[in-house]
């Protein structure tokens, strides 16, 4: 399903509806904004895990529908999050039934290289990651390095020591590392997306890719 083929009117959210949506998430506007972003990320992951090719757009569509329902005066009896994911399921099923979805999937596979094709723009991702790491605090940079340093059993022990050193639990350590990783990934994805089309396939010269 091409995003351009989606009804733009449906994607649009009136200020009043958006305000009602935020109000339903949290009492203060600041907390509501954070909760909105968190909910949007969760929806994106849900659509990704369901195999959607356009998780961002489906997440936005879900939130738009939620806002319209609230604007129309619909009472949400249960948790807003659960209600939202209920809408998300419908949105996903509708997206699956759309013929555009199948066409988009074929288009996507046409240029899909084999697993080794990843190496074409690997340097670009590394370059962008190094660039994005400069924008992260020293503490979080070291956290990422230490947290993801090994795959073997040593990594687990190291993570325990890392958590103990910071005075936090392993779960809290994962949350912190995950937040930094996600932030880095968004930065790197954006950085890679800014590069001219086709430049990723040119070679491994990092200077050229720059």
């Amino acid at each position: 399903m091409d995003s351009t083929q989606l009804n733009r009117k449906e994607l649009e959210l009136t200020p009043q509806a958006f305000a009602k949506l935020l109000a339903s998430l949290a009492p203060s506007s600041e907390a509501a904004g954070e909760r909105y972003e968190q909910l949007r990320r969760q929806l994106i992951k849900f659509f990704e895990w369901r195999g959607s090719h356009f998780p961002d757009q489906l997440a936005d569509e879900t939130l738009n529908r939620l806002a319209r329902k609230l604007d129309q005066g619909e009472e949400i009896e249960k948790d807003v999050t659960a209600f939202t994911f209920g809408i998300a399921r419908f949105v996903f099923l509708e997206a699956l039934k759309s013929p555009d979805t199948r066409r988009a999937a074929l288009d996507d596979f046409t240029g899909l290289p084999g697993p080794t094709g990843f190496q074409d723009d690997d340097d670009l991702w590394v370059i962008c990651l190094r660039e994005c790491l400069r924008g992260v605090s020293d503490e979080n940079r070291d956290l990422i390095i230490e947290y993801y340093q090994d795959e073997r059993r040593v990594k687990i022990d190291n993570r325990r020591e890392l958590a103990a050193g910071l005075g936090i639990s392993l779960n809290a350590l994962f949350s912190r590392a995950k937040r930094t990783r996600d932030k880095l990934e968004r930065c790197v994805t954006s950085c890679v997306g800014r590069k001219p089309p086709g430049s990723n396939m040119k070679g491994r010269n990092s200077a050229t890719c720059r």
């Binding site: 992951k45 895990w49 399921r89 990651l129 990422i144 990783r181 790197v188």
Partner: protein, 335 residues
């Protein structure tokens, strides 16, 4: 969905998540898991964690061949997921390069149970190498020592506080006892005083009664009774004259009114109905009054009997001769 994979099936939640990520669950199982992580932020984080672990193991070549093939077939066909894989690959490379660029001593000792080595000067807490059991034991001992010290300090403080409380309670008890004794003494004294006052009251009452009795006795009370000469002369037709003598009356002040003093002296007698003389007074002199003359005489009230009493009047001439002037009956009512 092919469930007979080489990937270890331990039935754990992590395994379930892996199957979900690779699209190997049934629709019902999918919905069930989604309902769980929709409602529970912790479970949502677990799904994210398993996804990252799966991707990291793939990029590091840690998956079994069959699992690697499954991953490439089911997971990385999605463009968004491919981005995750590319990022994870870049991250692994950068991490390895960073670690490799650190001094060799750091890397070696990080794998040994040695002292901590500075990897990045700014973050000492991340420089702690993996010492293994020895470091952990030291940490545990330190924690235990701190705990014991804290416990001892708390115990001492608590004991001191309780002792102070006990001393205060004892002082308060002693104060209460002293107060109680004092009050008991006061009560006893008040009791004695009360007895004294009662005795005094009784004594005073007795005195009062006695005084009242004495007063009633000592204070003379007279009753006046007047008669005319005509009453003596006409006593038979006039009937008895009433006279009330109240309790405590000592005298009857008898007055006989005369038109004139015909005699130089008079005599008044008090007789019983049967003529017995109970009282007499001679040589009475009539006093001149505005209306003529009058004889006055105090007769003791005790001389009068209850009921009829006769009062006789006689004149006494200059030669001593007595002339009866009449008698009058007085009906006395003693109260």
């Amino acid at each position: 969905m092919n469930r007979g994979m080489a990937m270890e099936r331990t039935g754990s939640f992590e395994d379930l998540i892996e199957q979900y990520l690779l699209g190997e669950l049934t629709a019902e199982e999918q919905i069930e898991l989604e309902d769980e992580y929709f409602a529970d932020p912790f479970k949502y984080e677990q799904v994210c964690k398993v996804e990252d672990q799966l991707i990291d193991r793939y990029v590091r070549g840690a998956l079994l061949p069959a699992d690697r093939e499954r991953f490439e077939r089911c997971y990385s066909t999605n463009p968004k997921r491919r981005e995750h894989v590319k990022f994870a690959k870049a991250l692994t490379q950068v991490v390895n390069e960073t670690l490799a660029s650190r001094p060799a001593a750091d890397s070696a000792e990080a794998r040994a149970a040695g002292p901590p080595v500075k990897a990045v000067p700014r973050m000492p807490e991340f420089r702690t190498p993996a010492r293994g059991p020895r470091f952990g034991m030291g940490l545990a001992l330190t924690a235990a020592t701190l705990l014991i010290l804290f416990g001892v300090t708390w115990f001492a403080t608590e004991t001191s506080r309780l002792r102070a409380q006990l001393a205060a309670a004892r002082r308060e008890l002693k104060d209460e006892q002293d107060r109680s004794e004092m009050l008991t003494g006061e009560i006893t004294a008040l009791g004695a005083q009360g007895n004294q006052l009662a005795q005094e009251r009784d004594r005073l009452k007795e005195e009062l009664d006695a005084a009242q009795a004495a007063a009633s006795q000592s204070a003379p009370t007279s009753v006046f009774f007047a008669l005319s000469l005509d009453a003596f002369r006409d006593s038979a037709s006039a009937g008895p004259r009433p006279l009330v003598i109240g309790r405590g009356t000592s005298d009857v002040r008898l007055r006989v009114n005369l038109s004139q003093a015909d005699f130089p002296g008079y005599q008044i007698e008090l007789l019983t109905p049967d003529g017995k003389q109970v009282f007499s007074r001679k040589g009475l002199k009539a006093k001149v009054t505005k209306s003529g003359a009058a004889l006055t005489l105090n007769v003791p009230a005790i001389k009068f009997a209850q009921g009829d009493n006769i009062v006789g009047l006689s004149g006494i001439s200059a030669t001593g001769e007595t002339e009866s002037l009449g008698k009058v009956i007085i009906k006395v009512n003693k109260r």
